[in-house]
Symmetry: C2
Subunit: 175 residues, 2 copies
């Protein structure tokens, strides 16, 4: 596929909308609209008691409260590791002394550029940072043994959280 034209349709606060003209392998012309969103980070954070830190917050786009792993956008000039530490301090009040990247994935590759770097955080120490524009977040600690049940029962309805938590459970059981 070859891009022969590109227009920014809208410059938003957290993403911008691009409209590309492309030539398909068949030779036919088509348009592809893309949401350009900065790369992001998400983290399975496990405390000393073997519980995972989850966040309950109202999500305006979903029009409901969701239970999710900590996550957030990478700011300009920031490494994924620094973004994780900042997000965890702002949203959970903990700093991860051990951080391991386990993988990553696109959130919605059919129409958005966002790529999520996935980490496991352990050895958590209290170290809160205040954030400016965060919606109200309620922290919940859930024993690892209950995570798969919460997913199967539909209590966790966020793609990155399901992917991240099941990934963690899989490699944890391998070690």
């Amino acid at each position: 596929m070859k891009t022969i034209g590109s227009t920014i349709v809208h410059q938003g606060d957290i993403f911008r909308l691009r409209r590309d003209e492309v030539v398909l392998p068949s030779g036919r012309k088509a348009t592809r609209e893309v949401v350009e969103h900065a790369d992001a980070v998400a983290v399975v954070a496990v405390d000393g008691t073997g519980s995972v830190l989850l966040e309950r917050q109202y999500r305006h786009a979903a029009s409901k409260e969701l239970l999710e792993i900590p996550a957030g956008g990478i700011e300009p000039g920031e490494t994924p590791e620094a973004a994780i530490c900042r997000e965890m301090q702002e949203e959970t009040g903990f700093f991860p002394r051990k951080l391991k990247k386990i993988g990553g994935f696109y959130s919605a590759p059919g129409w958005a550029t966002e790529y999520l770097h996935l980490f496991i955080a352990t050895d958590l120490v209290p170290s809160p940072l205040s954030a400016e524009d965060t919606d109200e977040i309620k922290l919940e600690t859930v024993p690892i043994s209950r995570i798969s049940q919460l997913i199967v029962e539909g209590v966790i309805e966020d793609g990155k959280s399901i992917a991240g938590l099941l990934w963690y459970l899989m490699i944890r059981e391998e070690h």
Copy 2:
């Protein structure tokens, strides 16, 4: 959170962009931009030999080829089940005689409305349908025993596919 104003910023082909004015619980006003995307379906399709049907296709938003489970948008008036059957026939050439909904999740609840219904499909029979505007898709069948390896090695880099495949592996092992 209360919405006090809402404007459609852009009406696109597969999504539209909405800008809402909201009042946060603190009383402060803020704006929230939302990508409105129709709900979608995704399916872990397992053939008679115990292999999973995966699709390799170039994703313009990711600027690369990705390996994904079959998925697609629900068309107006269509049930999720009908959407799965149509997408599978168009993209894989198979019709699923057994279909089971196992759950669902938001793709990117921080900024998009898209909700994905997740299914397991078995008892697959050849029954191709031609689609109009599909990018070139190469079908690959991967033994279930290799799936977790493909995820850990970063070969599968799509959030819905990782969530769906690991979910399938989890409940499969329980039965």
